[in-house]
């Protein structure tokens, strides 16, 4: 049995159980796996980007591990009290031992009590669990999170409405009939659609609204819930629970509510399972026999099993409830398909995950937006195209046809916009389809592949997979160099990818190869980022300009001031006027005299300063525009350090002058013309590789223009 249980990954999911409250009170209906392991989730041993898993030379891990547990409970845990439950403890211990030995079979205790193998889960009796896991109405459609050390139980309980229905009745008949027409077409085939998004709350097809009222026996079921039992690592618990609750637990229970409301599904399945259990108990059947039977007969049990298997290894669960029409449901905890920055040496490793700053979910304003797929990206399928197409065909949903079309049209070398333009399709619907493929882990979005781009071996690639990957590579590209030697070549020195292909005819194959490598997280694009670099010559030029303007101004100012000072009377008059309120004819007070003297001194000083500034300015060498400002070693520039404009979106007055001054330096008309357009990309965050696509220009031409700016850019390359 144990061998069928998938290895517990970081998900920490131990078991999934269905518990209901019926006429007979709370009932523990079903759980899977039949005998879950209680081991804590496995610790990932790798950190950062390291690959070495060996614990050579006496690992300190074990010791440190026990050491840490000391720290965790602060050294005081409840001492085992012998007198706490004098009789129970040993008995329970017996249980566990016996269960482990032959947990599959029934047996009788010395006192004649019949022990049924499926009436214990972990160290608890299911009769205890069923009472504590049927939360009151206060938890209806709310998160229920309870921990019984070391297990955590999370669920989203669904109660029947006070009016005895499982869903709200549609408000008015008139409205209904009008709706039917419209929804008929969609309802017929659309019932099996991914209820993922449509499941916002109960959206029921009006036709099926009455199903629950046609005399079906509800068995007095007033609530049900699928409980997820977890044992995540403590430091990850909160996050894991949140993810699994939002994406799996809530949706699974909502889907069941839907099925219960429309077809009394949960009760019918539960009743069947409970009857089978009852019968098997009488016949003293082994647990494995019963579980096989239940899984064959009940689609709900099979769904619970499938969800358990998929979610515990972080895969997508696809389940189908055999209601009429059947209800399909796909569940997953979404995973990010790339990393922006490498995990640090104290963070858990995520080897094999693609590392790139090319985030396809960034809107026009540069903010992250999970609903907005960038149209300048390309679609890269994560598996064989024919295999994915076959799978989608097998799903046979409304979306199958368009998805297959989308897969057929999209190429990793073409941006969505280019695909849409060449095939005359609507780009926004193409993006929606692509996003669907990405969400369901069939594809990722990458900057379009191009033979002129550079690709390097990803610092996060999972070399532990090299042996198997080498074999797969050989199969996919029999004539290409071996995987290790190709990676070695790529990693030795970054250069445009086309230089690796022996001839132009090889390029398409080589692009396929790079697609294969990116898919597996082996390589990543080396992208170019730039900031505007202002050399001293330019800075001086701008400063000189500013100074000359200031002197111009002060000259003018002086003139106007001296003009006004000539008519001192008027100022005196005005000041006198102020005093006139008190005494117009009075002679100047001492204060006024002092004030006038002060003003005069100030004016003198200003004039003197202006004269000095003008003299200084006259001494300053006139700025000379040399061909290469970066190597202008003139003496007057020595004290000026080069300057980097951090973000051309928000520039100061001076910075804008620098940019304007630089514009004058470019001789090529195209360079001149594009400078103002391109400057916004020189912020260190936007890859220069994307400019051609974003500006809708030829790649080669764009790079030509960028090269003409080269001297005035600080360039850095990273993924």
């Amino acid at each position: 049995m144990a061998s069928t249980i998938p290895p517990i990954r970081c998900s920490g999911l131990l078991a999934v159980a269905l518990i209901i409250r019926s006429r007979d009170g709370p009932r523990f209906v079903f759980h899977y796996p039949p005998r879950p392991s209680t081991e804590a989730s496995q610790e990932e041993r790798l950190y950062g980007t390291e690959l070495d898993e060996s614990e050579s030379e006496g690992s300190p891990l074990d010791e440190a591990g026990s050491d840490e547990s000391d720290l965790e409970d602060g050294g005081y845990s409840l001492p085992c009290h012998k007198h706490l439950d004098k009789e129970d403890k040993p008995k329970q211990k017996n249980h566990v031992a016996e269960l482990n030995l032959e947990g599959d079979d029934h047996y009788d205790k010395p006192n004649g009590e019949h022990v049924v193998p499926w009436e214990h889960l972990f160290e608890f009796d299911t009769t205890d669990l069923e009472s504590i896991l049927t939360p009151s109405r206060a938890y209806h459609k709310k998160k229920f999170e309870m921990s019984l050390d070391p297990l955590i139980f999370v669920t989203y309980p669904i109660h029947i409405r006070e009016d005895g229905l499982w869903k709200k009745k549609k408000p008015k008949k008139a409205k209904k009939s009008s709706k039917i027409e419209g929804s008929e077409a969609g309802a017929g085939s659309g019932e099996t659609k991914f209820i993922e998004e449509e499941m916002k709350d109960v959206i029921l097809d009006p036709k099926r609204g009455d199903a629950s009222e046609d005399g079906d026996d509800h068995g007095g079921m007033t609530m049900f819930n699928i409980v997820f039992i977890l044992n995540p690592r403590k430091d990850q618990a909160r996050e894991k629970i949140k993810d699994i609750y939002e994406h799996v637990i809530k949706k699974f229970n909502k889907a069941l509510k839907h099925a219960q409301a429309s077809a009394n599904y949960v009760w019918k399945e539960s009743e069947m399972m409970l009857l089978m259990k009852e019968k098997a108990k009488e016949e003293r059947r082994p647990m494995s026999w019963l579980w096989n039977k239940i899984l064959i007969k009940s689609t709900l049990a099979a769904a619970i099993r499938d969800v358990y298997y998929a979610i515990s290894v972080d895969k997508i669960a696809t389940v189908r409830f055999a209601t009429k029409p059947p209800l399909d449901l796909s569940l997953q905890v979404p995973i990010s398909n790339f990393l922006m920055s490498l995990p640090t040496s104290t963070e858990k490793a995520m080897p094999g995950l693609l590392v790139t700053t090319a985030n396809p979910l960034i809107n026009e304003e540069g903010n992250e937006d999970p609903t907005h797929l960038n149209k300048h990206f390309a679609l890269l399928l994560l598996d064989n195209e024919s295999k994915i197409v076959a799978e989608i065909q097998a799903d046979d949903t409304d979306l199958s046809e368009p998805l297959i079309e989308c897969i057929r049209l999209c190429k990793p070398t073409l941006s969505f916009l280019q695909v849409a333009q060449t095939n005359a399709v609507d780009v926004s619907s193409l993006l929606i389809l692509a996003q669907h493929l990405i969400y369901w882990r069939r594809a990722i979005a990458i900057p379009p592949l191009h033979a002129r781009e550079m690709y390097i071996v990803s610092p996060n690639c999972d070399s532990r997979k090299l042996p198997a990957a080498s074999v797969a590579w050989k199969k996919a590209f029999p004539l290409a160099p071996s995987l290790p030697s190709f990676l070695a070549a790529l990693s030795a020195a970054p250069r445009p990818f086309k230089t690796f292909a022996p001839s132009k005819d090889h390029r398409p194959t080589y692009l396929d190869m790079i697609a294969w490598l990116i898919r597996g997280g082996w390589v990543t694009q080396l992208r170019t980022f730039a900031w505007i670099l202002v050399w001293p010559e330019i800075i001086y030029e701008v400063q000189y300009q500013l100074k000359s303007e200031a002197i111009e101004k002060s000259k003018k100012g002086n003139k106007s001031r001296s003009g006004s000072s000539e008519s001192t009377e008027s100022t005196d008059e005005s000041s006198a006027e102020k005093h006139s309120h008190t005494d117009p004819s009075a002679p100047l007070t001492t204060e006024q005299v002092a004030e006038n003297a002060r003003l005069e001194r100030l004016a003198d000083k200003l004039a003197k300063e202006a004269a000095e500034a003008a003299a200084d300015f006259a001494k300053m060498p006139r700025p000379v525009a040399t061909e290469h400002p970066s190597i202008n070693n003139s003496e007057h520039l020595n004290d000026i350090p080069p300057y980097i404009i951090k973000d051309p979106h928000k520039v100061s007055h001076e910075e804008s002058l620098y940019i304007a001054a630089l514009a004058k330096r470019f001789t090529e008309p195209k360079s001149k013309e594009c400078w103002t357009k391109f400057t916004k990309y020189f912020n260190g965050c936007e890859a220069l590789e994307m400019i051609a696509l974003q500006e809708n220009r030829k790649r080669k031409e764009t790079w030509g223009i960028l090269m003409s700016y080269h001297e005035h850019l600080l360039v850095c390359k990273h993924w």
Binding site: R45, E55, E57, G74, L84, M146, S147, R464, G684
Partner: protein
């Protein structure tokens, strides 16, 4: 922060009841107190004093509004002297859902164990109303003090009666540190000399004395005359308390490349450029910070430090005259601005043997063979085999057939 604390009991005639609470009225209504309760206690009662099967363990539950989390440890003491032969109680702490609950686990466990012990000793809980108050503190006062002290001082030391004291402290729970590898280089984050004293572990003191940001773990072990595994344990302790960092072994043949975080340096986030200047410039004239930007951005995946220095020298910038290159690189690595590009050897033959599962000794392959699966960087080989880069390359070249071993930079 503890929002509330309460003591609940199962009363045979009345069910689960809150006996004492602090602050008043936070769990159940109290005469004369008008304040909103945290949650409806009736709903939560079954998790405060659950069925016997769930007692004597740490139990937590969130309220339906998902605002508060109740941490408790229901205790059930069986004894014939009690009505129904059992006595059930729970000391619970209420915290916000978003608060890290782990430090409080020990507190709740401690409350349960102490009061269980005291109940068994002198029926401290069950006879609360009968005993005279002179020689003991009231439970109401106790929980109030516990809450206040833990919230204000993160610890409490409260004498309860002649025999019992409650001593508790909130400990932050750190993550388990990554394993220490022999080729790592520890660098201290604090001045050990100032905090070390005679009570410190001798081995730890020997190891700490060798931490200089240059020596790798293996050398520290050697120079400190401490066994390698003990050295690693000592270092892992320091890592646990976040008092050291682990870096790579700095050599001029190393390759470093910029990471996207380099942008933080260029835009001078958190005054990083000043911090860097203070750390890396050697005595003498200080260069404008622009040069630091240029030094970082000119690192790349195919340039060793030596080649990088030469490149700058050729461009008329003698880096070594101004900058302590080791400290410069370390600054970049610590801040995550740059990352080390490691060297890995891959033997196709060895990979093939791993696939088939036949770990045949390849003729001519020597001790290094097990390193050629692409998962062991040269630093590791250097540290474990005590040979340098050139010699490793030499030995790898001898692997037959010729050209079998490839070097991947990653």
């Amino acid at each position: 922060m503890i929002q509330g604390i309460f003591f609940a009991r199962f009363l045979p005639q009345r069910g689960t009841k809150v006996v004492h609470q602090s602050p008043p009225g936070c769990i159940v209504a109290e005469p004369g107190v008008d304040r909103p309760r945290f949650f409806d206690f009736e709903t939560m009662g079954e998790y405060i004093i659950p069925r016997q099967g769930f007692c004597n363990r740490y139990v937590t539950i969130c309220d339906p509004e998902d605002k508060y989390r109740i941490l408790g440890h229901p205790v059930c003491i069986k004894d014939e002297k009690y009505v129904r032969n059992e006595f059930m109680f729970n000391f619970c702490i209420v915290i916000g859902v978003e608060v890290d609950m782990h430090p409080y686990e020990a507190v709740v466990r401690r409350l349960a164990s102490t009061f269980t012990e005291m109940e068994i000793q002198n029926r401290f809980l069950s006879q609360e109303d009968l005993s005279t108050s002179a020689d003991r503190r009231s439970i109401a006062a106790l929980i109030e003090i516990i809450k206040e002290d833990l919230n204000n001082y993160n610890e409490c030391m409260i004498p309860v009666d002649d025999a019992n004291t409650i001593n508790m402290k909130l400990f932050p729970i750190h993550r388990h540190p990554p394993p220490v590898k022999s080729w790592h280089v520890p660098i201290s984050k604090m001045k050990f000399a100032e905090i070390i004293d005679d009570t410190w572990d001798l081995t730890m003191k020997k190891v700490i004395a060798q931490i200089d940001g240059i020596k790798d773990v293996r050398r520290i072990s050697h120079d400190a005359d401490v066994a390698l595994d003990l050295t690693k344990i000592a270092l892992q302790h320091l890592l646990y308390y976040d008092s050291i960092l682990m870096l790579d072994l700095f050599l001029f043949g190393n390759i470093y490349a910029p990471a996207p975080e380099i942008n933080d340096f260029i835009i001078d986030k958190d005054g990083m450029q000043d911090e860097c200047s203070n750390y890396v410039y050697i005595n003498g004239p200080r260069l404008p910070k622009f040069y630091l930007c240029r030094l970082f951005t000119s690192l790349c995946t195919s340039r060793t430090i030596k080649e990088w220095l030469k490149m700058h020298l050729d461009q008329g910038f003698p880096v070594l005259n101004y900058v302590d290159v080791r400290r410069f690189i370390q600054f970049g690595v610590i801040k995550g601005l740059i990352y080390r590009v490691h060297k890995y050897a891959v033997s196709s033959q060895y990979l093939a043997s791993l696939v088939t599962g036949q770990s045949v000794k390849i003729e001519g392959g020597d001790l290094l063979q097990s390193y050629t699966d692409g998962c062991h960087c040269f630093d590791q080989i250097t540290a474990e085999r005590n040979i340098g880069d050139a010699k490793i390359m030499d030995q790898l070249r001898k692997f037959p057939p010729k050209g079998d071993v490839e070097i991947i930079y990653r």
